[in-house]
Symmetry: C2
Subunit: 231 residues, 2 copies
């Protein structure tokens, strides 16, 4: 029996909608863009196109370079219909997986230095990803986009990634400043600073963008546009 289509199937089908690819090329392309919205293993990128073929959404053609073979997958008309139908369905809520934040939740089991080290690893990762996205996108200005007609999509997509990685790096700085005031990781409870943060949360203010104390904050904060990091 053919197994059912998952969101990952549509992710691969979306790539096939752009042009035909070999299995290997799909894994390369997934590393460049897909993984920022839908991070999946290389292994799966090899399995999914086979499933699409079973479902009649793609065809497989065997090629060879010397004595080494490779499979080129091409989307079918049914595949295009399936893609179109997919765009009208409702997306699942976004989820973030961050082991460094898990370390914060259970920081009481280690030193403040351990915690800071974990958060700095996260910030380093975020900065590295930020640079990757910046480099790729800077190239678009020099006409280096493999699919020039898709530039409007990939650039808008990139703006989110960059904001996200920037947020991670900035928040880690904020968190490090907070943790620097902790004598220990364990048992502090409601400190003055914690209470101040909670008041900011309650008033929907950001913890970034220092703006002194909430003195002149006449509660005229426009919705969520200011956030929790305001001091």
């Amino acid at each position: 029996m053919t197994s059912r289509l998952t969101t990952s199937s549509y992710a691969v089908l979306g790539l096939l909608g752009i042009q035909p690819w070999t299995g290997y090329e799909l894994t390369r392309q997934a590393t460049r863009s897909l993984r920022f919205a839908w991070p999946k293993s290389e292994r799966l990128l090899y399995s999914e196109p086979k499933k699409l073929v079973e479902h009649g959404l793609a065809t497989a053609r065997q090629e060879s370079v010397g004595r080494r073979g490779r499979t080129v997958y091409t989307i079918t008309d049914e595949g295009r219909s399936a893609l179109r139908a997919w765009t009208t369905s409702s997306p699942q809520p976004p989820t973030l997986e961050a082991e460094a934040l898990l370390r914060l939740l259970f920081a009481e089991n280690g030193s403040t230095d351990d915690l800071v080290a974990a958060l700095e690893t996260m910030a380093d990762d975020a900065r590295a990803l930020h640079e990757q996205v910046t480099t790729i996108n800077a190239g678009y200005l020099d006409g280096e986009h493999p699919f020039p007609q898709r530039t409007h999509l990939s650039v808008l997509f990139a703006t989110f990634q960059l904001e996200l990685f920037d947020l991670m790096a900035r928040w880690v700085d904020f968190a490090k400043a907070e943790i620097a005031t902790w004598p220990t990781t364990d048992g502090l409870g409601m400190t003055d600073r914690t209470e101040a943060m909670l008041n900011s949360i309650k008033e929907h203010r950001s913890v970034f963008d220092p703006r002194s104390e909430p003195i002149q904050g006449e509660a005229t904060t426009t919705g969520m546009s200011r956030s929790v990091l305001d001091w």
Copy 2:
């Protein structure tokens, strides 16, 4: 054979480090906090403590309420050592899974309305999550924290979640404004606005926080503290 410990094992072990819990209580607690850093299925939350017992990191005690049984898991000394050791290891890079962003990447297969609908679903989800976190945290000011001595950790953790959900909602507004200028989803390529975004990216400016054109932007932007959304 006992299977190996994963990050999810340490996530559950971290909870057991706070107090003993039943399997069901672990699933409840995971919904309140864990899922924001380490989203895992309810099913796994029932399986992991058994694995911890096999490894000697926890003990299981059978209780009963009437004729219905339940299992209470308690951390052992070896469990505490394992937790301490874990805090010194290096965390995996953070990953975001967002089906709505996948819709953006492959938006050419649907209408601009389909795309906007997908992004609005994401923004709604983000706002709902923002409210959940805000509500829980506002309660801490009224002494409603189940573990008062841990307030400093959960509040610092919450600041990240709130910034993240706020970013998602604000970015969707930005993206909607951009998409509103598109006559179609397909084939636009490098528009004037796309080029402007790319220049912002290159200069490490944010696409948020309108600050008119990059006229007085003397490239003295301090690192990543401004981001891609500046106009």
